[in-house]
C-alpha cells in the first residue's frame, strides 16, 4: 500500500526504540568520521558520513514525531512484552540462535531436525509424534530438493563430520 497511516498513539516501546536509533546514528556518524575525518571531499569516509548524517537527522525527526504522539495508558513494559516481544517471539529467536550456533558443529541434518522438531512442536502444538513425522518429511524433502537436485553444499558439522 502506498502510505499506511501511522497510528495516532505511541506504540509500546516506540520511544525507547526511537532513542536507540538516534544513539546508533550518533555512533555511526562518529565511526564514519573516524575513517578519514574531514581531510578531503573524495576520501573514503565522506559518503559514510553523509549517510550517517542522514540517519541522524531522520532519527531526530522520528524521535520528535514519536514524542509528539500521546502515550497510551497501557504503553508500559507489560504491554511491550505482550505486543512487541511476546514469549513466542523470544522462544523462537532462542530456537533460531541455538540452530545457527549448532549448525557448523552438528551439521545441517542434525541441527535442522532439532530446530524443526522443536518449532513444530512448540508452534503447532499437535504433540511430539506429529512434530517428529513432519520433521522427517520436510527435512527429507529439503534434502532431496536442495542437496540432490540443486546440488547445494549443506553444512557437514565439525563434530560429527562424515556421519551425515
Amino acid at each position: 500500500m502506498s502510505e499506511p497511516s501511522p497510528p495516532s498513539a505511541r506504540r509500546p516501546g516506540e520511544l525507547l526504540f526511537s532513542l536507540l536509533l538516534a544513539v546508533f546514528s550518533v555512533t555511526a556518524f562518529w565511526q564514519s568520521y573516524a575513517i578519514s575525518g574531514f581531510s578531503g571531499l573524495s576520501e573514503p569516509g565522506v559518503f559514510p558520513m553523509l549517510a550517517s548524517a542522514t540517519m541522524l537527522i531522520s532519527s531526530l525527526v522520528i524521535l520528535r514525531d514519536v514524542v509528539s504522539k500521546p502515550a497510551t495508558a497501557d504503553a508500559g513494559f507489560a504491554q511491550f512484552r505482550r505486543d512487541i516481544v511476546p514469549a513466542r517471539l523470544i522462544v523462537v529467536v532462542g530456537f533460531i540462535l541455538a540452530y545457527v550456533i549448532t549448525m557448523p558443529l552438528l551439521g545441517f541434518l542434525v541441527s535442522s531436525a532439532g530446530f524443526l522438531f522443536l518449532s513444530f512442536w512448540y508452534l503447532w502444538r499437535k504433540g511430539p509424534l506429529v512434530a517428529a513425522i513432519l520433521t522427517v518429511v520436510s527435512l527429507g524433502a529439503i534434502h532431496v530438493v536442495f542437496r540432490q537436485v540443486f546440488q547445494v553444499v549443506l553444512p557437514q558439522g565439525s563434530l560429527i563430520q562424515g556421519m551425515f
Binding site: M1, S2, E3, P4, S5, P6, R11, E14, S18, S25, A28, Q31, S32, I35, S36, G40, L41, S42, P44, G45, V46, F47, P48, L50, A51, S52, T54, M55, I57, S58, S59, V61, I62, D65, I84, P86, R88, L89, V92, V93, I96, Y99, V100, M103, F108, S112, F115, L116, S119, F120, L123, W124, L134, S138, I142, F146, V152, V153, L154, P155
Partner: protein, 500 residues
C-alpha cells in the same frame, strides 16, 4: 535472427523450461500465502542459485517474480487477504464476487487479464530498454549518484509511514553497504579490525535477514488467525468478458508499464492507480465498485503484471532497481558477475533478450497454472503458519550459509532478521534498506568520481549538477521529491491548481 536465438534459449532448453515453470508455480503459491512475499522468496532463492549458470538463476527468478505478483490475487479473491500489497485493490472487488459464488470466474478472469498485462509489459521492455540504454550511455557519474538517491528516496517515501523513516532506512542500507575495504583506497570502513568484516557484509545475508527472517518473525503474531474456506466453480472466463474488458486492460497495461518503469514505484502503486482510473472512467458498471465489479478486478490485476516488464527497464538499462524485488534481482546479477546498466545491453545483449524470452515463457506458464490446480491450491494455502515459518527459517539459514559456506553470514542474517522485525513493527519499510545496501557502493564510487572530476572544489561540483542537461533534469526531480516532503509543498500545489 540472433535476437530470436537468444529469445528462444529458455524455450528450447528442457532444464531452463523446467526452472521457469517451477519458479512460476512456486511464485504463485508463495505470492498467494499472506505474509510470504515475492521478495522473500526471491531473496532466499538467490542464495541457492549462486553457483548456477546465470541463465538458470534468471529463469527461476523471473518465474518466481511473474508468478508471485499474480499469486497475491488468489487469496485476495478467496479469503479477502491480499497475498501481496499489489493485490489490495483486487480484494476490494474479488472477495465480494467470491461471496456471490463467483470465485472461480474471478480467478479465471484475473488470470487471463494478468497474462495480457504481462505481455504488454514485456513488449514495452523489448521496445524501450534498448532506447533508454543507448541514451543512458551519456550519463555521467553525478547522474548515477542522483539516480541512486532518487531510487532510494522514492521507495522510502512511497512505501513507508513517513519520509523520515524512509530516509533513515535508505541511509542505514547505504551504511551497511559501506562496510568492508574501500575499493578505491583499500582503507577499512567499519571493520573494527575484523578480517571477516573486511570482506564486507554480503547482500544476501541482509536480504534474507530483512525479508525472510524478519517476515517470519512478524508472522508469529498471526499464528492464531482462523482459516477461511471458499467454494470454487467455473474457472475459464467467458470470451465475451475478455472482449468487453479489452480496452480497459490495454489502458491499465499502459499505466502498469509506466509506473513499473519509474524507479521506486512498483506493482502495488500501479494496481491502485489503475483501479482508480477504472473507477473514474467506467460508466454504468454491471455491479457497483466495491460490490464485486469486474472492471475493478481486471484493472489492478492487469496493471500489476504489466509493471513486472516495466520494472525491468530501469534495472537493466540504468542499474537502478524499480522496487524491492528488482533490488533483490539486481543483487543476483551482481553476484553472477554482471553489471546492470547501459553497458549490459551492449556487452551482454544475449542476457537481455534471454530475459525477455523468459518472461514471455513465465507468462505462458502463468496462464496454464493459473487456470488449473485451484482445488490443490486452496489446500496448500490453508497450510498452518507454524509449519511455514519453521521451514522459512531453515531455508533462510541454509541459503545464507550456501553463499560462501561461512557460518558468520548466518549470524548476520539472524541479526538483520531481528533488527528487521523491530523496524517493521515500528512502521519502517525494509525495502529501502536493501536498495541502500545494493546502491550504496555504486553511489559512493560515483560521488567520489564526480568530486575528483570537479578537482575537489565544492562550487564546481555543485555547478556540474545544474550545468549539464541530464544532470539538471535529475537534480530538479530530486529537489521536487525533497520539496514534496516538506510542509511548503501543499500550499504550492494548491496555488498552482488555483492558477490553472
Amino acid at each position: 535472427m540472433e535476437v530470436l536465438g537468444h529469445l528462444a534459449i529458455s524455450w528450447l532448453d528442457p532444464w531452463l523450461l523446467f526452472l521457469t515453470a517451477a519458479g512460476t508455480l512456486a511464485g504463485i503459491y508463495v505470492g498467494a500465502i499472506p505474509g510470504l512475499s515475492v521478495t522473500m522468496a526471491t531473496s532466499i532463492l538467490i542464495s541457492f542459485t549462486f553457483k548456477w549458470q546465470v541463465n538458470e538463476a534468471l529463469a527461476l527468478i523471473a518465474g518466481v517474480f511473474v508468478g508471485g505478483v499474480y499469486g497475491g490475487s488468489r487469496t485476495a479473491i478467496l479469503l479477502n487477504i491480499p497475498g501481496a500489497p499489489s493485490a489490495i485493490a483486487t480484494a476490494l472487488e474479488g472477495y465480494p464476487m467470491a461471496k456471490r459464488g463467483e470465485a472461480g470466474e474471478a480467478i479465471g478472469l484475473t488470470t487471463v487479464m494478468s497474462v495480457f498485462g504481462g505481455f504488454v509489459g514485456i513488449v514495452a521492455l523489448a521496445m524501450f530498454a534498448p532506447l533508454i540504454s543507448s541514451f543512458a550511455i551519456m550519463f555521467n557519474s553525478r547522474d548515477y549518484l542522483l539516480l541512486g538517491m532518487i531510487g532510494i528516496l522514492l521507495v522510502g517515501t512511497l512505501s513507508g509511514e513517513s519520509f523520515a523513516k524512509g530516509a533513515f532506512a535508505g541511509a542505514l542500507g547505504v551504511l551497511i553497504g559501506m562496510v568492508g575495504l574501500d575499493p578505491m583506497t583499500a582503507e577499512g570502513r567499519f571493520t573494527f579490525g575484523s578480517i571477516t568484516l573486511m570482506g564486507g557484509i554480503p547482500y544476501v545475508a541482509a536480504m534474507i535477514g530483512f525479508f525472510g527472517v524478519a517476515e517470519a518473525l512478524s508472522q508469529l503474531n498471526n499464528l492464531d488467525l482462523p482459516v477461511i474456506k471458499q467454494k470454487i466453480d467455473r474457472i475459464i472466463p467467458k470470451l465475451a468478458d475478455v472482449k468487453r474488458y479489452f480496452r480497459l486492460a490495454l489502458r491499465a497495461s499502459g499505466i502498469g508499464t509506466i509506473i513499473g518503469a519509474l524507479p521506486g514505484t512498483g506493482g502495488d502503486i500501479a494496481a491502485l492507480l489503475a483501479y482508480d482510473d477504472a473507477r473514474r472512467t467506467t460508466r454504468n458498471p454491471e455491479v457497483p465498485f466495491g460490490k464485486g465489479c469486474k472492471e475493478g478486478l481486471v484493472a489492478p490485476e492487469v496493471a500489476n503484471n504489466a509493471a513486472v516488464g516495466g520494472s525491468f527497464v530501469p534495472m537493466l538499462t540504468l542499474g537502478i532497481p524499480g522496487d524491492a524485488v528488482t533490488a533483490v534481482i539486481i543483487g543476483a546479477l551482481f553476484i553472477h558477475g554482471l553489471k546492470p546498466g547501459p553497458l549490459l545491453l551492449v556487452e551482454t545483449p544475449h542476457l537481455f533478450w534471454f530475459t525477455v524470452g523468459n518472461l514471455v515463457l513465465a507468462n505462458i506458464f502463468l496462464l496454464i497454472f493459473g487456470l488449473t490446480g485451484i482445488k490443490i491450491f486452496t489446500k496448500i494455502v490453508e497450510c498452518p503458519k507454524a509449519i511455514l515459518i519453521s521451514l522459512i527459517i531453515v531455508l533462510s539459514a541454509v541459503g545464507t550459509y550456501a553463499i560462501q559456506n561461512n557460518p558468520s553470514h548466518v549470524y548476520w542474517m539472524l541479526g538483520f532478521g531481528v533488527a528487521g522485525y523491530f523496524l517493521k513493527t515500528y512502521g519502517f519499510q525494509v525495502g529501502p534498506i536493501i536498495l541502500g545496501v545494493i546502491l550504496g557502493p555504486m553511489m559512493d564510487s560515483n560521488y567520489r568520481r564526480a568530486m575528483i572530476g570537479a578537482r575537489g572544489d565544492v562550487g564546481t561540483f555543485l555547478w556540474d549538477f545544474v550545468s549539464h542537461p541530464i544532470s539538471l533534469v535529475l537534480s530538479i526531480a530530486f529537489a521536487l521529491m525533497l520539496l514534496s516532503q516538506t510542509p511548503v509543498w501543499r500550499p504550492i500545489v494548491a496555488r498552482l491548481r488555483r492558477g490553472s
